[in-house]
Symmetry: C2
Subunit: 332 residues, 2 copies
């Protein structure tokens, strides 16, 4: 039981050549039924499992793909269910394709050399780089090395890198328009990091709508953490004590903002309406429940995986986002 049986053993037991056994194991149809049967039985009896290393060596495929979270994503990782959704989606799709998922969380140091090494040594058939830090060089490097790469989130440096992105700008626009329609006059925003495409696009969406509705923009910037949202909200309140709405670039920061507003004695949605982004589970449980923009994270993961598995179709995908109205913007 200790020594795992080889194809050779299986072939011997089934009374065929190794080549034929290999054909059966790999599901070739050009094998006589009774022989196929015999080989299957031998596989069963011996508990044969193909050695992946040997297989990879000759096929030059690894049957696994890497999912890389660069540093800024890793930092937020523990508290942002968005990433968990992406992982799940990727995992589901990978599983269906009977491949493996290698997860790499990049540390603060330039540890992406490790990723580069790993991805170029034939250990992986493709790489998904999630939630990029703007001009991350990794996707470019890997592409040049001949490794299929797909980006989660549109790369800020335009190129022909395939990507799957959320409709961040569209979602932001709908959110801010919702505030305008509710008659809010002074609509502020807590933007995300401006070196992340999600941060940039959501701010752009906000700006576009405000410009069209001839309101002035009131902006603070956070880093997508709850804490930074709380701090940014304080700033905003200091900048414009009369603001009556805030569009926050993600839910985590919105939760922080909600807290600051409470401490400042502002009611939500009475005094100030608040909209977040992401629709994390906590949003529905906030006090008051948070209006937010839902994004299909699991679907994003699936698409990323599908794209990296079929490198021929490299046309970018932008997934729709959806406004979810809850108490935090209800007109009293």
């Amino acid at each position: 039981m200790r020594a795992r049986p080889t194809l050779e053993k299986v072939a011997a037991r089934a009374g065929v050549s190794r080549a034929t056994a290999s054909r059966v194991v790999n599901g070739s149809t050009r094998v006589a039924p009774q022989i196929r049967e015999a080989v299957h039985r031998a596989v069963e009896e011996l508990g044969y499992v193909p050695n992946q290393a040997a297989r990879s060596l000759v096929t030059q495929r690894a049957d696994s793909i890497a999912l890389v979270f660069p540093e800024p994503a890793t930092r937020v990782f523990s508290d942002d269910p968005t990433f968990a959704g992406i992982i799940r989606g990727v995992s589901l799709e990978i599983e269906e394709a009977d491949k493996q998922l290698v997860l790499m969380l990049t540390g603060p140091d330039g540890s992406y050399h490790r990723v580069e090494r790993y991805a170029t040594n034939g250990h992986v058939d493709g790489v998904i780089v999630a939630s990029m830090h703007g001009s991350d060089p990794l996707p470019g490097i890997l592409t040049r090395r001949g490794v299929p790469v797909v980006c989660g989130g549109r790369p800020s440096v335009p190129g022909d890198l395939p990507y799957v992105d959320m409709d961040n700008a569209g979602g932001a626009e709908r959110a801010v328009r919702h505030l305008v329609e509710q008659g809010r006059r002074r609509i502020a925003t807590i933007a995300g990091p401006q070196d992340m495409i999600a941060g940039i696009d959501r701010l752009a969406g906000y700006r576009d709508v405000l410009r069209d509705s001839e309101r002035r923009s009131i902006v603070a910037v956070g880093d997508f953490t709850r804490e930074s949202g709380a701090i940014a909200m304080r700033q905003l309140l200091a900048d414009d004590p009369d603001l009556d709405a805030v569009f926050v670039a993600n839910d985590l920061m919105a939760l922080g903002a909600l807290r600051t507003l409470g401490q400042a004695g502002r009611t939500v949605p009475g005094d100030v309406a608040v909209i977040g982004f992401d629709d994390i589970p906590a949003a529905a449980y906030a006090e008051p429940p948070l209006t937010t923009v839902r994004q299909p994270t699991v679907e994003m993961g699936r698409r990323l995986a599908r794209m990296v598995l079929n490198p021929e179709d490299r046309t970018p995908v932008v997934l729709p986002t959806e406004l979810v109205v809850r108490e935090s913007t209800r007109r009293s």
Copy 2:
């Protein structure tokens, strides 16, 4: 640049044999300095990266370890930062050991056959099974197949499987004792799933303290989700409208309970004191901030990884938990 150079090429360029080149690449000391230099230069110039498949084939090692989340964990995965913490810890340690992390989320179907297959085909040097569903057969099967396994959370079926667990019972005891000390009389609990060791042990801790303090226990059971916490709280309130404290087996359910309490017109901590478990980031941001039991998730991940990487030391580890007192139990 397309075709990656082989050791052969490196050896040729450095003017040595393949064997020597291999020695240098693998850091053997028994090589003359100037030759080592020459090989290093050749590696550099050609951009040589060892082919892992070929290496694995001969060494019978895979240099990667699998982290498996069985179904129940997977279900909660997206919203429970505990898992993210474990992943981070494992990832950090794996990275230091220059190995790879293969993540496997088990689906609802019996898809752990896939895990079994994968782990036994030599693709992996060890397996970490996280947050087990009580009597999960997987660790046993893999161990029998000769694959080093470490469990995250003590297996409910006693055996000699190595594991890393949190001090769940101890944490629960401290939490409930805290409530007793505050003079709470009717202390209820929302327990976790009773087929997970964390659920069982936390309930046991609660029961032990109550017995000692001669209070009767009031129990509802949830499944570690926010929603189930809200529902269980409703039940508890129906069972005993006069309860003045609840120890909830995890923070997510505690958040749900907090909400139910608010809707039922109970103040926290005035009418009812609430304690959670886990100390997820959201706990500090709850209204009121939640007293809870902190557990070292990242450390757990690190220990798990270290344990599976050094299969000789298989003595179980129980990590300490710590009571974090916040507003939700503050005596007014």
